[in-house]
């Protein structure tokens, strides 16, 4: 498998030259809700308003900082813009049972799903959590961000407001 033919490269160039570049919409992958339902990610929506998908894990310190910090302002975000945050945990079988008690123990109001074998993470080319994706009211991915530093949520919220007010992001 180490050697690959020139046709592979050709294939990539060919596809690349005809197509739109960058992820456009959320891929269709089955994830689990914290009450055990199987949900397909293609059904993710927020009634025509933008929403945020945040990849996190119970073992990821910056992820927990980010979601805790957003939780403090989340009510205002929802009131002012109608935005919704979908938190996708990539905890696997080892720690997925911790997700529901952890989220409730923190009092987070997010919509939470679990991606136990990282299928969605892989389909969306997420390198490592935390990773944030902003989806507009039409289901189009307009912005992505890797990592978290305190205050990053302000930048995210500026972009959400711009989007809600009809501005273009991408």
């Amino acid at each position: 498998m180490k050697k690959f033919s020139a046709s592979t490269l050709f294939l990539i160039i060919a596809v690349y030259s005809f197509s739109q570049i960058g992820i456009q919409t959320i891929p269709s992958v089955d994830v689990k809700s914290i009450d055990g339902k199987t949900v397909n990610t293609s059904t993710f929506s927020n009634d025509g308003k933008p929403f945020v998908i945040n990849f996190w894990a119970t073992w990821c310190t910056p992820c927990k900082r980010e979601l805790s910090n957003i939780a403090e302002v989340y009510e205002d975000w929802v009131d002012e813009t109608g935005v919704k945050l979908i938190a996708v945990s990539i905890d696997d079988t080892r720690s997925m049972a911790r997700v529901a008690p952890f989220v409730n123990g923190k009092g987070w109001e997010y919509e939470v799903y679990i991606d136990p074998n990282s299928d969605l993470k892989r389909a969306m080319n997420v390198p490592n959590p935390p990773y944030t994706v902003l989806v507009d009211g039409n289901g189009k991915i307009v912005w992505q961000h890797t990592g978290y530093a305190d205050g990053d949520e302000d930048e995210l919220y500026e972009i959400i407001k711009k989007l809600v007010n009809g501005g273009t992001i991408k």
Binding site: K106, N125, Y131, D152
Partner: protein
């Protein structure tokens, strides 16, 4: 490998066909203004190494080593295809050497219809909790047991999902010898049974079967060429309560891991949790007996693992809490974990102005009870039936115990922190094959100060203390490496910059009698000295691009991400890392 030439020709033909289909669909699609989209990601890491005999960082002949990968995914309607290139020039320290080189590591095509989904090529999949089958990858850990073959997913009725898989597993740039094939059925009774869909009681049942084939060429033993494994699971939830359980059984599978015993294996997993706003509780139980399962019975480490038995302990994220990480003992263990989460409300005596969140977690793992099959055979003697054990048996032999408390507290708009205490009992004899029990106490403070809008300083202070032991000569010594302390300062300017400095230090002095004994007893290295492991780092992030640079020393240890661990050797040098998602 046999048949490589034929395989190569088939591969080339396949690629040619895929190319034609691609280009054809691309051209066709362009006329319809739907040419699909291309997305992907990329990561490159390179480290320059400086030898440092004091910390045990070896000379690297190449002076610089680099790992990189690039994923490209093409999507057009119901059709998805992807490739991943990987390059190791040469493989960075801490990863497995056979990765050296560059090539196409992964390629697949998937058609996704309403009732059926088919994938040809590489894929990742998990049946139930993974007790008998889990194909998974984590690039940062160098873990990849991708399947290479075919997968079909079929939804014949509402709430019913059937999955079939067949193929070989990835083994570096080759494929594992064994063939893995299996079936899984998952039935959501709420969707399947009419009139049950609105019920608060949610019930899902599932069953799976996996079989592997590997030729028997062993001169000593007559080994089973086909090994089968089955598992059944049940998930139930009612409002805030949820219960998940799975039982798995595997037919006799003599292997390097189980020292060639002819004994079936089994595993049982139970997860229960209850939560409502402001509180949560979790209980986890696991029992494992002789469940190592690889598609090549001779393989070791993380290679060609067919299943994944989750470790029953908290997956810590702070360095010292994770200094002695736990890994499942596939040959046998019984484990229990319990955790409580509670949030003291705002304006309550403990909650203070902003509320305080507390979690406490305990996990305990012991060996299973084994008895000899007869008077003349030792337990687990090679080539025998191994031993006898009863289902859910437990012995007194402690393998691992972790008790920890974490407190999240916000003091003011500008100041908040996470405080952790941990007591760990770690049986090095079982887990690493040397010495005895390590009893460690760890304290961690992680405080974030908001200096001004967008500027934050994070201070992370950690200390670990190991217990005292007395050797046969009557000398006292510290367990393992003894006591450690570290301090990390991280300054971030949102949304682009981060700067960090850190240092860690082996608190015990080499001149101490205690340390002399420790170092002598543990390592028999006479040149060891106490060392500073300092590091400076900076990084720049813009949207989905991240560039970071670091320079310093890294302590030898075990790095775990998700559920998988790898050992990292001591290193000194400069590291650059670039990643981008498009």
């Amino acid at each position: 490998m046999k048949g490589t030439k034929i395989k190569k020709r088939i591969m080339q033909r396949l690629l040619l066909i895929i190319s034609i289909v691609f280009i054809g669909s691309g051209l066709f699609a362009q006329q319809n203004f739907n040419a699909g989209s291309v997305s992907g990601n990329f990561k490159l890491e390179a480290q320059a190494y400086i030898p440092d005999s004091l910390i045990g960082a070896d000379t690297v002949n190449e002076k610089m080593l680099s790992n990189s990968y690039m994923n490209v995914i093409y999507t057009n309607g119901n059709f998805t295809a992807g490739v991943r290139f990987e390059g190791y020039f040469n493989t960075m320290q801490g990863y497995d050497q056979p990765y050296d080189g560059f090539g196409l590591a992964n390629r697949y095509a998937t058609y996704q219809g309403d009732f059926i989904e088919v994938t040809g090529g590489n894929f990742y999949e998990q049946f139930g909790n993974g007790l008998i089958f889990r194909s998974y990858e984590d690039r940062d850990l160098g873990y990849d047991n991708a399947m290479d073959g075919m997968r079909v997913k079929f939804k014949p009725a509402k709430g019913v999902k059937l999955t079939g898989i067949i193929g070989n597993q990835r083994l570096y740039w080759e494929k594992g010898e064994g063939i893995v094939r299996g079936l899984d059925a998952d039935i959501s009774l709420n969707d399947f049974v009419p009139g049950f869909s609105e019920s608060d009681h949610r019930l899902t049942i599932g069953g799976s079967f996996i079989s592997k084939y590997q030729k028997d060429e062993n001169p000593l033993y007559n080994l089973p060429e086909n090994v089968g494994a089955g598992a059944g699971r049940l998930n139930y939830s009612l409002k805030g309560f949820s219960l998940a359980s799975e039982y798995a059984y595997k037919s006799q599978d003599p292997s390097f891991d189980n020292r060639y015993i002819y004994k079936p294996g089994s595993a049982f997993l139970l997860n229960a949790n209850y939560s409502r706003k402001g509180m949560g509780a979790m209980l986890q139980y696991k029992w494992v007996d002789n469940m190592s399962f690889r598609s090549d019975r001779e393989e070791t480490i993380n290679n060609v693992l067919v299943n994944n038995l989750p470790a029953i302990s908290k997956n810590h994220s702070y360095a010292y809490a994770a200094m002695y990480p736990y890994a499942t003992q596939v040959n046998g263990e019984a484990g229990l974990q319990a955790e409580l989460f509670y949030k003291f409300k705002k304006n309550s005596p403990i909650g203070g102005k902003y509320g305080t969140a507390v979690s406490t977690n305990i996990s305990r793992v012991v060996d299973i009870e084994r008895t000899a099959i007869n008077d003349s055979t030792n337990i687990a003697a090679m080539g025998t039936d191994g031993y006898e054990t009863s289902f859910l048996s437990m012995s007194d032999s402690l393998i691992y115990q972790d008790f920890n408390v974490e407190i999240y507290k916000k003091f003011s708009k500008k100041l908040k922190g996470v405080f952790t205490y941990q007591n760990l009992k770690y049986n090095q004899n079982v887990l690493e094959g040397h010495l005895g029990m390590v009893n460690a106490h760890t304290v961690i403070a992680d405080v974030t100060i908001k200096i001004k809008p967008k500027h934050a300083l994070r201070i992370e202070a950690q200390a670990l203390f190991t217990g005292m032991e007395t050797d046969t000569a009557g000398n006292d010594y510290r367990q393992d490496y003894g006591n450690w302390a570290m301090l990390l300062l991280e300054y971030t300017i949102s949304p682009h910059w981060f700067f960090a400095v850190s240092d860690q230090y082996n608190i015990i002095s080499f001149d101490d009698d205690v340390a002399k004994n420790t170092l002598h007893v543990n390592y028999e290295k006479t040149s060891l000295q106490r060392n500073h492991y300092y590091s400076v780092a900076m990084g720049y992030t813009k949207e989905s691009t991240r560039i970071s640079l670091s320079y310093g020393k890294q302590r030898e240890g075990i790095l775990c991400v998700g559920g998988v661990c790898r050992s990292v050797p001591a290193a000194y040098g400069a590291l650059i890392s670039i990643s981008h998602t498009f």
